[in-house]
Symmetry: C2
Subunit: 182 residues, 2 copies
């Protein structure tokens, strides 16, 4: 299966596309970072993240988008931007009917290094090895995005079928807004 | 000016449209709540919020969208959903070139009640009075959305011109994603 991994962020949103299946060699199709200028207003930055991710979805047509699960108790100064960028990633995928999977940082670390407490260098080293890359992907956000995709390919195969079925059968809906007119 | 106020939330996203200018009577054009089912996956809920907000933007064509500014240190259990719903609201407006203004809860309370520490009942009472409504808007999220719009109309007129000029002159952009192919 082809998975787009997204390490959400407003300043740097890591993206990486990996193709593979459990027990078979992995192949990297692309990796990069969608950046937005820190001096721009948040609404414009979110729009730029959306446009950047749309280009990745257009080009690579992934079957699933794996996004890092964001926790509120993490670094308070960046968590809002991370939560907002992850919302944009979820929206871009779901709008196209592409299933979304969320993985925690420790699930991702455990999947690629064997330890949920591995550091960034270890994750980057394993991603480089597993994908047989000539050099480590940079910056760390790009390596993390690839690690997310690998994590999903290895862990997610059973739950994917359920997610895909759900994405097909549950039409997105909102309760019609109750209106009150003067 | 016509302002859509948005009190962001995943379960209940309050929306209210108010028309007015500083020193002139205010007029409510519509108020409601976009709801999404708590048992649905977050990506689908975000899509439903987007679709709900798009309908409000289509119908009321506001000149500006005023959104409550979300702080990370608030209620940890709901802050992620609130941050994500606010990202969707910012995205919907910015995609249409509509300027976005963020106001803190205490700015909104101070604008409509005179006190930044007013409770919900006081905000609802003042919103009902200022808009000359026959009955208080319910639920509280709907009243808060109207309060946001009023707050913006009264506070934001100077800064709006700057925001509108910026929205016109700054094309949304992301740095082209650096790609690395194997």
């Amino acid at each position: 299966m082809r998975v787009l991994g997204v390490d959400p962020g407003l300043t740097r949103c890591g993206v990486g596309v990996v193709e593979g299946a459990p027990g078979r060699p992995l192949r990297m199709l692309g990796v990069g970072v969608v950046r937005t200028p820190a001096d721009q207003d948040v609404p414009l930055r979110l729009l730029a993240v959306e446009q950047g991710l749309e280009r990745w979805l257009d080009e690579y047509q992934p079957e699933l988008v794996a996004i890092e699960r964001v926790f509120a108790q993490h670094n308070v100064s960046t968590v809002m931007g991370t939560a907002q960028a992850s919302a944009v990633a979820m929206l871009c995928a779901t709008r196209r009917g592409i299933p979304v999977a969320l993985h925690t940082p420790s699930e991702v670390k455990a999947a690629v290094t064997g330890s949920g407490r591995a550091d960034k260098a270890q994750v980057t080293a394993m991603v480089t090895r597993l994908l047989r890359l000539a050099e480590p992907p940079k910056p760390a956000d790009a390596a993390d995005a690839l690690a997310l995709a690998i994590c999903h390919i290895w862990r997610g195969s059973a739950s994917d079928k359920i997610a895909a079925a759900l994405a097909r059968s549950t039409p997105p809906r909102s309760t019609p807004a109750k209106e009150y007119r003067p």
